[in-house]
């Protein structure tokens, strides 16, 4: 009897770690088993998420940096930051687990970047504003990839010319430091696909360098 009881309790504890609500059900079956009751007393065990502001506060800079790197324009970045924030707030109730918060919010940000870039294309405007005359961004860029700050600036341009997903994946990986699984969630693809995108991006950049 004792053994059965303790096994039930340890099962419950295991369930509790994975799924608070599951444990609630078990809780009723075991009756008033002290340990579980104490754990259940904490509201967060049944999955009440932190308030939106508290959850997102630490990611403000990261998001702004990502947007700044993606758009390359201060006003655009601020605009999209606001949009990201509001969309994330509105959709926050649908977010199932707190662990997914970071890739989720990056996904919103990168979707917005993509939408904006597409809108610009439709209106026939130039996305990269480094070349106000509308010419393709300096074609001699790859030649200078190796050299100093100048080369880095060209590298930045080269990144901005990568296909959308590859560029975003590269930026999330190398600048924002997200895990591949997180990038996968953010870009709505598998972790493997995210890894491949980053690899392709790197390969392209390397090729630009070798072409000199």
């Amino acid at each position: 009897m004792m053994i059965a009881g303790s096994r039930l309790a340890s099962n419950a504890a295991r369930r509790l770690r994975t799924n608070g609500i599951g444990a609630t059900r078990l809780d009723s079956r075991i009756g008033s088993s002290g340990v579980i009751d104490i754990v259940m007393g904490r509201v967060n065990e049944i999955g009440i998420p932190p308030p939106f502001e508290a959850a997102v506060k630490s990611m403000e800079r990261e998001i702004m940096r990502f947007l700044m790197r993606s758009t390359g324009d201060r006003e655009d970045a601020m605009d999209l930051f606001q949009e990201t924030w509001l969309r994330a707030y509105r959709a926050y109730p649908t977010l199932q687990s707190e662990d997914g918060l970071r890739p989720w919010i990056f996904r919103i940000a990168s979707n917005l970047c993509r939408n904006r870039a597409r809108d610009r294309m439709r209106r026939g405007r130039v996305i990269a504003n480094e070349n106000p005359d509308g010419a393709a961004p300096a074609d001699n860029a790859p030649n200078q990839l190796d050299g100093g700050p100048e080369g880095a600036l060209h590298l930045k341009r080269a990144i901005s010319r990568l296909p959308g997903k590859q560029g975003q994946a590269l930026m999330m990986r190398k600048f924002a430091g997200l895990e591949y699984t997180e990038i996968g969630t953010a870009l709505n693809c598998s972790a493997e696909s995210a890894r491949a995108s980053v690899y392709q991006a790197v390969k392209k950049l390397k090729k630009l360098r070798l072409d000199e």
Binding site: I21, T24, R25, D27, S28, D37, M40, G41, R42, V43, N44, I46, G47, I48, P49, P51, F52, E60, R61, M64, R65, M68, R69, R74, A77, M78, F81, Q82, W85, L86, Y89, R90, Y92, P93, L145, D146, G148, P149, E150, G151, A152, L153, L155, K156, I159, L170, K174, F175, V202, L205, K206, R209
Partner: protein, 267 residues
């Protein structure tokens, strides 16, 4: 050249200083605040308490009690999900404990506690909202039948819909769905378990027996005429059953402002 080194180079050559970012974030903040004024969901304080009815999840907004969930019944995730859609949830044990104290008072015989204002935000349909509002008018010490409640909402044939409405009651105890019984005098089912329904009804004065029937002492009160009778009274038999409330005893009926029938003299 390694990409990491390239990335470092980009970072160094076109650095985005934290201060620059903070300034930009600061600049967007007033705009976000303005937009949030429109978007922001009202807040609800959520906590878990132990009560005589088992462990309860309790959510309260500024307008009143928004949800109570019997934690030993499944569906807690769904309740939380619905709450999150309508409210910004804040953990607040103190608020839940206050409500818990009110529930305790019910079991000590002080029913004024259940008059606590309620926030029916989680209720989607108009029919359900009307039902809950009229159900709140059934006083402690009285019960109503599904049929009778349907009649008060103006749809006398919708007792099944009333049944469903009771089953999805977001605020049990305070929206007293335990005071709704079957027309045959048995107490019927309860979302928080029949045992809890019996507990609540007993606390309110009904000596519910093992056969789940109301006691013989119960009297019938007519809501329109304000008269209460013994169940067998000829006057009560003539009356529309949908207009009837069932009181635990003559005292409860008297407290609710009804007078005794002069034919059957129940008091």
């Amino acid at each position: 050249m390694k990409t990491n080194r390239m990335a470092t180079q980009v970072k160094e050559s076109a650095p985005i200083d934290d201060r620059v970012l903070d300034a930009m974030i600061g600049q967007t903040r007033p705009r976000i605040e303005r937009a949030m004024k429109i978007l922001r969901r009202p807040q609800a304080r959520v906590g878990v308490i132990s009560s005589p009815l088992g462990r309860l999840l309790i959510a309260e907004s500024d307008r009143g009690l928004a949800a109570i969930h019997f934690l030993f019944i499944s569906g807690g995730e769904r309740t939380l999900e619905m709450l999150r859609r309508k409210f910004d949830l804040i953990e607040n044990e103190a608020s839940a404990r206050r409500i818990g104290a009110e529930i305790d008072r019910v079991f000590e015989g002080d029913f004024s506690a259940t008059a606590h204002p309620v926030d029916l935000s989680l209720v989607e349909s108009d029919f359900q909202r009307r039902t809950y509002t009229s159900l709140r008018k059934v006083p402690p010490g009285a019960v109503i039948t599904y049929h009778g409640l349907a009649a008060t909402v103006g749809q006398p044939d919708s007792q099944r819909a009333i049944g469903n409405t009771m089953a999805s009651n977001p605020i049990p105890i305070f929206v007293p769905c335990h005071r709704v019984i079957r027309s045959d005098g048995t107490i019927g089912n309860y979302g928080g378990g029949v045992d809890n329904k019996i507990k609540l009804l007993r606390a309110e004065g009904f000596e519910v027996g093992r056969d789940l029937r109301l006691p013989a002492l119960a009297v019938m009160g007519h809501r329109r005429t304000g008269i209460f009778c013994r169940p067998g009274c000829s006057a009560a038999r003539r009356a529309d059953p949908a207009k009837m409330l069932i009181f635990a005893d003559a005292r409860c009926a008297g407290q609710a402002g009804l007078r005794a029938c002069k034919l059957c003299k129940p008091a």
